[in-house]
């Protein structure tokens, strides 16, 4: 009890120090900036990508053939989208294509000449490789203008489709994994440098004399987790508000196998576990570092390790019930990611209770090892750390 009370004192101090600082506003707004910028410049970006970047082919055929080709282009684009084909522009049929392409003010990358039955495309070899197929399709459609008929498909609707539901749940599992991974990678990394302040300001001596070091570690994890939940609530709330403002219907979303309420609760719990598992590891590693520079050096290899874990869990999501998926569920660091994907696809609840207990046990073990290494190497106290691994944390 003394351990938890002391951890709470540390957590409260850390939480208020972070949340009541001005930089926390930046922390909250930071992830929203890409969204705002995306909205602000999205239209322009779309215009640039959809209009300007498509190649322009000059049509230098006779007037009737040119008109037929342009009509065929319009018909195909209406069905396939305007990104599917190059843009067309009429050019003078009297000047040779080579001469037109050689002009400094030429705006076309290739020129289509000849007749509908025998079209000729002039341009650089690389451009011809890209355009030849599209222009052949266009010419075929133009040639068949009068004979081409659209076949109407008869609709036969059903209420549910197991295949579609499974596909939707797989997507939910993937999205949940990705969101959890990015939140963890964004937020847990901050814990690496968490003890540096106490070490550089000599506060660690006061803390270590008053409370067990386990309580210091636990308190710091609790504070950072609480801070993360504040951030997630803010970002999640904002994203949901944008979704509603954009006309989104929450009821139209496909449901995960376990149902939305339990799924969201499990997502919160698994995030907490993923965060504390990695956080306790980071705290243990970061506590060994003497300076901020050392912490920064540690950042990259740790991020790579996280990526590996994520890839492992991502692989598992496509192979439910396979040895790889079971291994991902058991391995503590990938377990939260694998289990949330499982919750999206399988309604059984008990494996989640087991997984949460399993993950919590590993959090406790990692914290304990981190504490003992900290006492040994930083405080220069204690003997062989594994001998005191399971000793109560009373100092």
């Amino acid at each position: 009890m003394q351990l938890w009370r002391a951890a709470f004192v540390i957590a409260r101090r850390d939480f208020t120090a972070v949340v009541l600082s001005r930089t926390f506003i930046l922390f909250l707004l930071g992830p929203l900036l890409p969204i705002v910028i995306g909205f602000a410049f999205g239209g322009l970006g779309e215009k640039i990508s959809s209009t300007d970047l498509r190649p322009v082919v000059g049509v230098a055929m006779s007037a009737p053939d040119s008109a037929t080709v342009l009509r065929a282009h319009d018909r195909l684009v209406a069905r396939m989208g305007d990104q599917a084909l190059p843009r067309l522009r009429r050019v003078s049929p009297t000047v040779s294509p080579r001469a037109q392409l050689a002009r400094p003010d030429s705006e076309v990358v290739a020129i289509l000449s000849g007749t509908l039955a025998h079209p000729v495309l002039t341009g650089k070899a690389g451009d011809l490789d890209i355009l030849q197929g599209d222009i052949s399709l266009l010419s075929t459609a133009a040639l068949a203008e009068r004979t081409l008929q659209f076949v109407t498909v008869t609709r036969n609707e059903v209420a549910t489709s197991q295949g579609a539901q499974a596909q939707a749940r797989l997507i939910i599992g993937r999205i949940a994994q990705v969101v959890m991974f990015f939140l963890t990678i964004l937020l847990a990394g901050m814990i690496l440098s968490n003890l540096v302040e106490e070490k550089t300001n000599k506060i660690i001596e006061i803390l270590a004399a008053a409370v067990p070091i386990d309580a210091i570690f636990l308190g710091k994890l609790m504070a950072m987790l609480a801070m993360s939940f504040v951030g997630i609530a803010f970002w999640g709330g904002t994203a949901f508000a944008i979704f509603l403002l954009a006309g989104g219907q929450p009821t139209a979303l496909p449901a995960p196998a376990i149902g939305w309420p339990i799924f969201l609760a499990l997502a919160a719990l698994y995030f907490a576990m993923a965060y504390t598992l990695l956080g306790s590891l980071f705290l243990g590693i970061g506590a060994q570092a003497a300076t901020v520079r050392e912490v920064q050096t540690l950042n990259m290899p740790i991020t790579m390790g996280q990526m590996l874990i994520f890839f492992f869990a991502s692989y598992a999501v496509d192979h439910m019930g396979s040895p790889a998926e079971i291994a991902a569920c058991i391995f503590p660091f990938s377990s939260p990611f694998a289990m949330i994907a499982r919750a999206a696809q399988d309604a059984t609840l008990w494996p989640h209770l087991l997984a949460l207990l399993w993950q919590a046990a590993f959090v406790a073990i990692i914290i304990r090892v981190g504490v003992l290494l900290f006492r040994r190497h930083v405080m220069q106290s204690g003997g062989r750390w594994w001998k005191t691994l399971f000793r109560p944390a009373t100092g």
Binding site: R12, A17, I206, A208, V211, Q380, G382, T394
Partner: protein, 330 residues
């Protein structure tokens, strides 16, 4: 000024009542091949002001950290307020480390309350006490200021208040006078005496002999990781015989044969330790030979002299006699 009564909380079941607030037996702590604490036995009586005296690097801080449970000894055992596991008694202990540390962005009263909360004092109560302490000490204007805006002396005072805000039974201060100006040193001495009057045990380390001499009932002189002397200040001074200082009109005469063999001539006077047989034979010779006694004083040696005799001249040279050096530090 500071609080009402110490030790408001009750001792845990693990603690056993003892006449000693702090005990250490056969304590050894090594860092690599360096023995910072080398077989120390120490017992601090409950309610005493106890000084650990020694030059820098003598092992004082390591000894205090070992006794407090911040680090574990390699050998030996310790007990704090009767508990073998010192952190069990954390609520009844206050500790001011040598290297002062506070969160720079914390407000002064919050820092004090936080330190109290670490030791089990409810935060609201800690805040109230902190404000009262700061106001009572003429630091009312600093209550809401972040630590980074305070002077070094004020920050040290804040930390000291944080050490005692939960009204501990035992206060451990590591070099508490270091960095304080003369006025704040006086205030700190008064505070230590006040706490002791309330029954609180004070254990502090210092390399300034004058503070130990003024404050302590008992001292331990530490050098090279070992305790060279343990007892009262009076006991330490009694280790040396009283010093005699004699000035005569006559420079020479038969009376000089009566001077002890350790006599040294210095600044026109004879200096020597009071002989085992007393001063009377020498006085008789001086009078018989008409040496003309201008002045004669018999002085009890100070703690500094005792320290030199106990710890050695080399250790004594690293020590500070009084306030001059501390003013420089401040």
């Amino acid at each position: 000024m500071i609080g009402d009564t110490p030790a408001s909380s009750t001792a845990p079941a693990a603690a056993r009542p003892s006449a000693y607030a702090v005990e250490g037996h056969g304590l050894v702590k090594t860092f690599g091949s360096f023995r910072a604490v080398d077989g120390v036995d120490i017992a601090v009586p409950a309610g005493a002001i106890y000084g650990v005296l020694g030059p820098n690097g003598a092992g004082k801080t390591t000894l205090l950290r070992t006794l407090l449970g911040i680090i574990d000894p390699d050998e030996g055992h310790r007990s704090l307020l009767g508990a073998r596991q010192p952190l069990r008694m954390a609520r009844q202990v206050g500790y001011l480390p040598e290297e002062r540390g506070l969160y720079p962005s914390m407000k002064a009263y919050e820092a004090i309350a936080f330190m109290g909360a670490l030791r089990g004092l409810p935060l609201r109560q800690g805040r109230e006490r902190a404000k009262a302490m700061l106001e009572g000490h003429g630091m009312g204007a600093a209550i809401d200021k972040p630590i980074r805006q305070l002077s070094k002396g004020m920050a040290q005072t804040v930390q000291l208040f944080g050490t005692i805000v939960h009204q501990p039974r035992l206060i451990v201060l590591d070099e508490p006078f270091s960095g304080l100006d003369a006025i704040n040193q006086e205030k700190l001495e008064a505070l230590i005496r006040e706490q002791a009057r309330q029954g609180v045990t004070i254990l502090f380390s210092t390399h300034v002999i004058a503070h130990a001499e003024r404050l302590c009932e008992r001292i331990a002189i530490v050098a090279g990781g070992r305790i060279r002397f343990e007892g009262t200040v009076s006991d330490a001074r009694d280790r040396l015989r009283p010093q005699v200082r004699l000035r005569t009109r006559a420079i020479d005469g038969a009376w000089r044969r009566a001077l002890p063999s350790d006599t040294v001539a210095q600044e026109g006077a004879w200096h020597f330790a009071l002989p085992e047989g007393g001063i009377e034979p020498l006085l008789r010779a001086l009078i018989d030979d008409r040496a003309g006694i201008e002045s004669l004083s018999i002085e009890r040696p100070g703690l500094h002299d005792a320290f030199v005799a106990i710890a050695g001249a080399a250790a004594a040279r690293q020590m500070s006699d009084g306030e001059g050096q501390e003013e420089q530090e401040a």
